[in-house]
Amino acid sequence: MIPACLAGLAHARTVDSATARTGFTTNLALEPAAVHDAAAALYKAGYFLECISGADFAEGFEVLYTFDRFEKPERVALRTLAPHDAPVVPTIADIFHGALWHERECFDFYGVRFEGHPSLLPLLLPDDMELRPLVKAPEARKSREAIVFQTPAPPAAADSAGEKAAADPEAKAKAKAAALAKAKAKAAKTASETAQAAGGDPA
């Protein structure tokens, strides 16, 4: 589901994932250049910035923005990819001021530069630290396709680990999610029944 405010936006692809499993109502992958406009649209539509996080994939550094609303749960995830050699993403700190720190933290951990950020200083790490602690070793990086998109990666791009992870879980995950939803509904029902029984007994 794409909220109306993001409808006109050029997004790379919609990540097809069930809300019951990921907790995201909307899950969009964008080009870095589109992030700022999307954030502005979300701000206008009354969303607030929940957090910004990074992740290191074989394809590059992914920056994940999550937004939510105060009135009703509607978590929007925007994700963008920055290449390993020149990770630059435009800042959204001029729209959501909370992003000032989230972006600094992301810069700390991954070295992703946020273009236009007023003071991209180390936030959590000591000022003289050169290390980017959450950057993985090249051989430890997994494919973004396998984790985020959960669709089998093209065989040429997938490394051995990515293949293994991506091969069967796709179908399994969907079945599991469905089973989980069913089980949850059942559990809630039994719980309320027991509760009523327990509450009714003394009376």
């Binding site: 907790g23 001021h97 959590l124 000022d127 984790i147 992870a165 719980a191 027991t194 509760a195």
Partner: protein
């Protein structure tokens, strides 16, 4: 940066952050460090201030003095091995973090939680919430200059800790939840003790109100201080009592109900004044709402297993991602886990409510008295290790 400074100039050269904060010493304003070793920053928060007399012109929090690499550790440890850490992210409301992480992994791996476990989770988490609010209350009043209330708060706090100790086995950094339930069942001593505690806490709340809340000095120190409007809360992503103190009834327990919270009857306290006093009143009301939830949960506590017997020992979720959020005493706690199908998470992101709440501070404190800034800082209810993670 003056690398060739002489010795005596050098002593007053500040450090990296103050030099970025101000180009050099100024004739009219004082660059002052508040923290990391400061009694009213509740830990090792540091705030660089530019002061004009008693007034703050600019403030800039500097974080990282208790950065404990929680997110890095998540990538190194197995799912269950990482669990005890959750009690140490926010040690005042450890069980909310327990819950957020357990909830995320359970959703990712498709582990069911039996109803009794859900209820035990609610009971222990709400006890912990009261415990956290009590400590905040005592410490906040201590910041404002009154020592006595914290002694009262700790009397009740110790009672809660004794009760929680029965089921969790520790006083502070709980690791009570596990994937698919909780680690120990409630004993009759715990249940009876909790019932007695609800009664005693109910009788204490009016005393707290008479002793502190109605105090004129407290009101003068809190009212019309640190006014957060809705737009500001949205720009910074404030949640929890900080947001509800600004009149927005947004509580994750109601907003996106997890576990069995939709079965309880409780109100979401809000205050329309948007100031420090509003946040104070919201927290005090939340204590009585939590007592309400506790009472109902104890009455409705179902029988059955306290942990899913089919829950795997070695959690190995399928590749994918999930974001699970719960309401802690400080706001919306979010745990985002990416799994690559192995036994260790690929990435764990901890969304700490205090991180966003504190980022308000720079804007909130500009132009206020230093003494009021301390009051604002206290009203945000910060736990520094949660901010630095």
């Amino acid at each position: 940066m003056n690398q060739t400074a002489t010795n005596d100039v050098d002593v007053l050269a500040g450090d990296y952050y103050t030099r970025h904060f101000a180009a050099g010493p100024n004739d009219d304003t004082l660059i002052l460090n508040m923290g990391p070793q400061h009694p009213s920053t509740h830990g090792v928060l540091r705030i660089v201030l530019e002061m004009d007399g008693e007034y703050i012109l600019r403030a800039e929090p500097v974080l990282g003095y208790i950065h404990r690499m929680q997110e890095k550790m998540g990538e190194n440890r197995a799912y269950l091995q990482y669990f005890p850490n959750m009690g140490r992210v926010d040690y005042l409301h450890a069980l909310a973090w327990n819950w957020a992480y357990a909830g995320a992994v359970e959703r990712l791996a498709g582990i069911e939680v039996p109803p009794r476990a859900e209820y035990l989770r609610v009971i222990s988490c709400e006890m912990n919430r009261i415990c956290s609010h009590l400590l905040w209350w005592g410490a906040y009043i201590l910041d404002l200059g009154a020592f006595t209330p914290i002694l009262y708060a700790f009397v009740d706090r110790e009672e809660i800790m004794d009760l929680l100790q029965i089921i969790t086995g520790s006083r502070l950094t709980y690791c009570y939840f596990t994937f698919g339930g909780v680690t120990a069942d409630a004993t009759p001593a715990f249940i009876d003790g909790t019932r007695a505690f609800i009664k005693s806490m109910r009788s204490r709340l009016p005393m707290f109100k008479g002793l502190v809340t109605d105090n004129l000095i407290l009101r003068k120190r809190c009212e019309e201080i640190g006014v957060i409007d809705l737009d500001m809360a949205r720009r910074y992503g404030a949640t929890g009592p900080v947001l509800r103190g600004s009149g927005v009834a947004c509580d994750t327990r109601r907003h996106e109900p997890y576990s069995c919270y939709n079965e309880f009857d409780f109100a979401i306290p809000t205050a329309s004044t948007c100031d420090a006093m509003g946040r104070y009143l919201v927290r005090m009301d939340e204590i009585s709402e939590s007592l309400k939830i506790l009472e109902q949960a104890l009455d409705m506590l179902p029988d059955g297993p306290f942990v899913n017997p089919k829950a795997p020992r070695k959690v190995k979720p399928a590749a994918g991602e999930t974001y699970f959020s719960v309401e802690s005493a400080r706001g919306k706690v979010g745990v985002y886990v990416q799994s690559d199908g192995s036994t260790t998470p690929y990435r764990v992101k901890l969304r700490a409510p205090c991180f966003s709440n504190l980022s308000l501070f720079a804007e909130l404190s500009a132009g206020t008295l230093l003494a009021d800034a301390v009051s604002i800082l206290g009203s945000l209810d910060l736990v520094i290790p949660e901010i630095d993670r």
